[in-house]
């Protein structure tokens, strides 16, 4: 993937966050501070405003700067978390003009590592990691077997969705929802949900 295609992926992610703004906020109202959708839409809205500047950069820097914009403008926990994810992925992709699916998977792992370090979280704590990590494993497996990008992304989305379902069955031990303890069971994690929308946005443009 070259940067001309990458900017379309970024546009698609921004559209997804805008159109899911109310739904994500509604989810966050149940177990958080009710700002996830508004925050993500604000952050990606700023990304959209800086589209021309991003387009002048090489692919890795585009992703890294996208992360920096999110850190500066999201205003909630998703700012530092998604911000770190994109900054780490972008740093890995630096200097690559044509991003292969192997590069994507590697950069995705950097993003996961970044989120784990920033949030001091692991899988199974009712966070975005519960969608990200199964998605990564599923994409890697499918890619190894079929070598088909579309199929691999589809497998990733399916695993992310299953991860979101899984977050309904567990109690939160990280973030604002952790104060609810067992009462957070039955609600899906907004961060895992927004990640799934972002992955769908990526897949729809590849």
């Amino acid at each position: 993937m070259n940067k001309e295609k990458l900017i379309l992926v970024i546009d698609q992610m921004a559209d997804a966050m805008e159109s899911q703004k109310e739904y994500l906020t509604e989810l966050d109202n149940s177990i958080g501070d009710g700002d996830h959708g508004i925050n993500m839409a604000r952050g990606f809205g700023e990304v959209n405003k800086k589209r021309d500047a991003l387009l002048k950069m090489e692919a890795g820097d585009m992703i890294k700067n996208l992360g920096m914009i999110l850190v500066a403008t999201v205003g909630g926990a998703s700012g530092p978390l998604y911000g770190t994810a994109f900054m780490k992925a972008g740093t890995y992709l630096k200097g690559k003009e044509d991003i292969t699916f192997d590069d994507f998977l590697e950069s995705f792992q950097c993003a996961i590592d970044g989120v784990m370090a920033r949030g001091k979280a692991v899988e199974g704590e009712k966070t975005m990691l519960d969608a990200m990590m199964p998605a990564k494993r599923a994409m890697e497996k499918e890619w190894k077997i079929t070598g088909d990008v579309k199929k691999s992304l589809e497998a990733g989305i399916a695993a992310a969705k299953a991860g979101v379902e899984f977050t309904k069955r567990i109690a939160a031990t990280k973030g604002r929802a952790s104060y609810l303890g067992e009462r957070s069971i039955g609600h899906q994690d907004p961060g895992a949900t927004s990640f799934t929308f972002l992955l769908e946005a990526i897949a729809s443009r590849i």
């Binding site: 501070d33 700002d35 925050n39 850190v71 500066a72 205003g75 909630g76 926990a77 998703s78 700012g79 530092p80 978390l81 911000g83 770190t84 920033r118 949030g119 973030g175 604002r176």
Partner: protein, 126 residues
């Protein structure tokens, strides 16, 4: 003198914590960094950065946070200031601010105040 920055999701909370320290810590700068630019709840990378700049002296700045994004956003700001004397303190926000600023007004150095606040953990109230 060591100065302080109070990071909170709420502008009013950060301002009030800063105000609360004033009577017993004359001369210590306590800069609030609460809420977003429009005054709504949240934590702003820029507001935290500006507050640290405003509080900064060669003797150091201690940053006290409430929770969640306040901690993570402050952490990201500090990562850009590795050459400077700035530290985040893991302590109760209100008690830590009052105790820390009194210590700073008494002339204690940053490392000592940092250690005292961190070691005290949750101070027993009764």
């Amino acid at each position: 003198m060591v100065n302080f920055v109070i990071v909170s999701h709420s502008r009013l909370l950060a301002e009030s914590v800063a105000d609360l320290t004033k009577p017993m810590a004359a001369g210590v700068k306590v800069i609030p960094a609460g809420g977003l630019e429009d005054g709504s709840f949240g934590t702003s990378y820029q507001i935290i950065t500006d507050a640290i700049e405003k509080a900064y002296t060669g003797e150091g700045v201690l940053v006290l946070m409430d929770m969640g994004s306040a901690v993570m956003t402050a952490e990201m700001v500090l990562e850009t200031m590795e050459d400077r004397k700035v530290k985040m303190v893991d302590c109760p926000l209100v008690e830590g601010a009052v105790a820390g600023t009194i210590a700073a007004a008494g002339g204690l150095d940053m490392e000592t105040i940092y250690r005292d606040l961190t070691d005290s953990g949750y101070v027993n109230k009764f």
